[in-house]
């Protein structure tokens, strides 16, 4: 096998992995703090994609800038969904939580379908036409930017959780919700913020991806499943795990595409998922659910 091809596969995989990581980081934050699995995650990503696309097509805003607005909008959506709906099933059986979020996902996906139609779109971006050559391999500028932004956002989130009061409160609540209540933490506010940030992350991921891959509303559910995949592999509730998981899965798929038919590469991640589910559902880095 041509080493150049492999190197290229690795490079593209790592760069695209940043986006995967961002998706996973959002999901794992929600799970880590609230113990809730966001089944509407991928559908929120789809809205991030469409918002970036709207900004690009109507206002000519580059997705690499527009992602911030998309993230902000998704943050608000996340807070609203959490306050209005998810909060009510915080203590309900897991099955109820899953079904509720499945319903939210259905609504998000199909409102997008009704609003934008089923045809695949792609956000126009000046960056995507630029390619950097590093010897025999090339770097897609759009992917590089996506990776850099994703890295920055994840790093920023990491610092936020470690250094700020709100971040520390969030981690404390994640570790011990009752304890947090006892010391007077506004737990509901923490939950709303966590869900909002999670939504913002995946919305940003969607915005960053929008010039790279064509998308349509039906991308929602597969994106959710892909996020679960990554988070399980990297570890539920672990930020570094989610980040690492995103890179691992992306590289595995990228290399897999070299040896297998394109649609078979998903088989690799699903196979990996099944194995990890059976052997170590808490993932490689994670804590038990």
């Amino acid at each position: 096998m041509d080493t150049t091809l492999i190197a290229q596969g690795l490079l593209s995989g790592v760069l695209f992995g940043g986006v995967y990581s961002l998706m996973a980081v959002g999901l794992t934050l929600i799970f880590g703090v609230m113990r809730i699995v966001n089944f509407a995650h991928g559908d929120m990503m789809v809205w991030g994609m469409y918002l970036a696309w709207l900004l690009a097509t109507r206002l000519g805003l580059e997705p690499t800038v527009g992602f911030a607005l998309a993230a902000a909008a998704l943050f608000v959506l996340g807070v609203v969904v959490q306050r209005g709906l998810v909060d009510r099933v915080q203590d309900a059986p897991h099955e109820m939580q899953i079904l509720l979020l499945l319903g939210v996902g259905l609504v998000l996906e199909n409102v997008a379908l009704v609003a934008f139609g089923p045809d695949p779109q792609r956000a126009p971006s000046g960056l995507s036409r630029i390619t950097l050559w590093l010897g025999p391999v090339f770097i897609d500028m759009a992917r590089l930017v996506a990776f850099t932004v994703a890295l920055a956002l994840t790093g920023g989130l990491w610092l936020f959780l470690r250094r700020t009061d709100l971040g520390r409160t969030m981690r404390a609540t994640a570790d011990n919700p009752y304890g947090a209540l006892v010391v007077g933490t506004d737990v509901r506010r923490v939950y709303a913020t966590a869900f909002g940030i999670g939504a913002a992350c995946v919305g940003a991921a969607g915005a960053l991806v929008s010039p790279i891959l064509p998308f349509s509303p039906s991308a929602g559910l597969p994106a959710s499943v892909a996020s679960f995949n990554i988070v399980i592999i990297g570890g539920m509730g672990s930020l570094p795990g989610a980040f690492a998981g995103g890179l691992i899965v992306s590289v595995a798929e990228s290399l897999g595409a070299l040896f297998l038919a394109p649609s078979m590469k998903e088989l690799v991640s699903f196979g990996l998922l099944i194995v990890i589910l059976l052997l170590r559902p808490a993932g490689l880095f994670g804590r038990r659910a």
Binding site: V37, L85, R88, V89, A92, H94, E95, M96, I98, L99, L100, L102, G103, V104, G105, L106, V107, L108, E109, N110, V111, A112, L113, V114, A115, F116, G117, P118, P217, S218, L221, P222, V225, F228, I232, A261, S263, M264, E266, L267, F270, G271, L273, I274, L277, L278, L279, P281, A289
Partner: protein, 324 residues
């Protein structure tokens, strides 16, 4: 006891009505009923595992796909009548169920992890089928219309109506039997509290496995009907998550774990899809009925978590007895 005679008479009257209905309905209305019955059937099959045993599966489309493809391939290559191929499809689906359950339950997967396992298996089936030329690949399989009853195909829509009705009654009958048996009592116990059930002598692994195998078998039978009513099998449609969601949404809204829940749910939801198709047939509006599904699902979880049927029954008994 006259108390139990009432529902029985009502049930018999309903079945009788359904039997003669095609004589007075338009062909289009008959189609709507076919969908009500068929999705009610699939929902009822799911109900055994998801409702009674309480193990949420979001990958039931896998069983429809296995059943449909098995039946069709056997018919195409060996001329085996789908009526028999249906049973083979059911058995193969049951085998897949045994694998999923055997692995999942053996490794103690519950709740979210089990849901994800079912989705993963369905996706694996979809991807493999998508890439296997012998099974038609991405284009899928097209069933030629012969109108031959032996091929599970009929000229008259009404014949499909009776087959779908028969399937729905079959599934409901099976669930009714399960409900009144040791299997049913044990499944419900497992759903309510698995550890307590174990302590009372219930082999939780074995019974959960029973539930998934039975559920998968029945769903697999449905696959044969799917193939011979829609005349096409495409991996993304028949193994996809949207179909899985379509299967679970009716019993959940109607009342998971109850005998009539899936049927009520299908009665409410299936016509909605058809209405959306007629009145909003412009290309961009194809998702409208799904928005309504989503809203109903959210509403059910928040306000009527046990489903429409138990809620209605409680309201009915309260009204009759006059007290809460």
């Amino acid at each position: 006891m006259s108390a139990s005679r009432g529902p029985l008479l009502l049930g018999a009257a309903t079945i009788l009505t359904l039997l003669v209905l095609p004589a007075v309905l338009s062909s289009y209305a008959v189609t709507v009923f076919i969908f009500i019955f068929f999705y009610g059937y699939l929902g009822q099959a799911w109900n055994v595992l998801g409702g009674y045993a309480g193990q949420l599966s979001a990958g039931h489309a896998a069983f429809v796909g296995v059943g449909g493809y098995a039946t069709t391939l056997l018919s195409m290559h060996w001329g085996l009548s789908p009526w028999i191929g249906m049973l083979v499809g059911g058995v193969l689906a049951a085998a897949l169920g045994a694998v999923i359950g055997g692995l999942g339950f053996r490794f103690g997967l519950r709740g979210f992890y089990f849901v994800l396992l079912t989705v993963a298996f369905a996706e694996v089936c979809r991807i493999i089928t998508l890439n296997t030329e012998a099974m038609g690949g991405a284009l899928g399989l097209y069933i030629t219309f012969t109108g031959n009853p032996w091929q599970l195909q009929f000229q008259d829509n009404r014949a499909y109506y009776y087959v779908a009705l028969g399937l729905m009654l079959l599934a409901t009958g099976v669930v009714a039997l399960v409900e009144r048996s040791r299997l049913g009592a044990y499944l419900v116990a497992i759903r309510e509290d698995e550890d307590a059930a174990e302590a009372l002598g219930v082999d939780t692994f074995r019974y959960k496995l029973c539930a998934i195998v039975l559920s998968a078998f029945l769903t697999g039978l449905g696959g044969a009907f799917y193939a011979n009513y829609l005349f096409s099998l495409q991996p993304n449609a028949v193994f996809g998550i949207p179909l899985s969601v379509d299967i679970i949404i009716r019993p959940v809204i109607g009342g998971a774990g109850t005998l009539l829940g899936p049927l009520l749910g299908s009665l409410i939801l299936s016509p909605l899809a058809e209405i959306a198709r007629i009145y909003f047939s412009r290309p961009g509006w194809t998702g409208l009925h799904l928005v309504v599904y989503g809203v109903l699902l959210i509403g059910t979880v928040l306000f009527v978590p046990q489903g429409a049927y138990p809620h209605l029954r409680r309201a009915w008994t309260r009204r009759r007895s006059g007290t809460a």
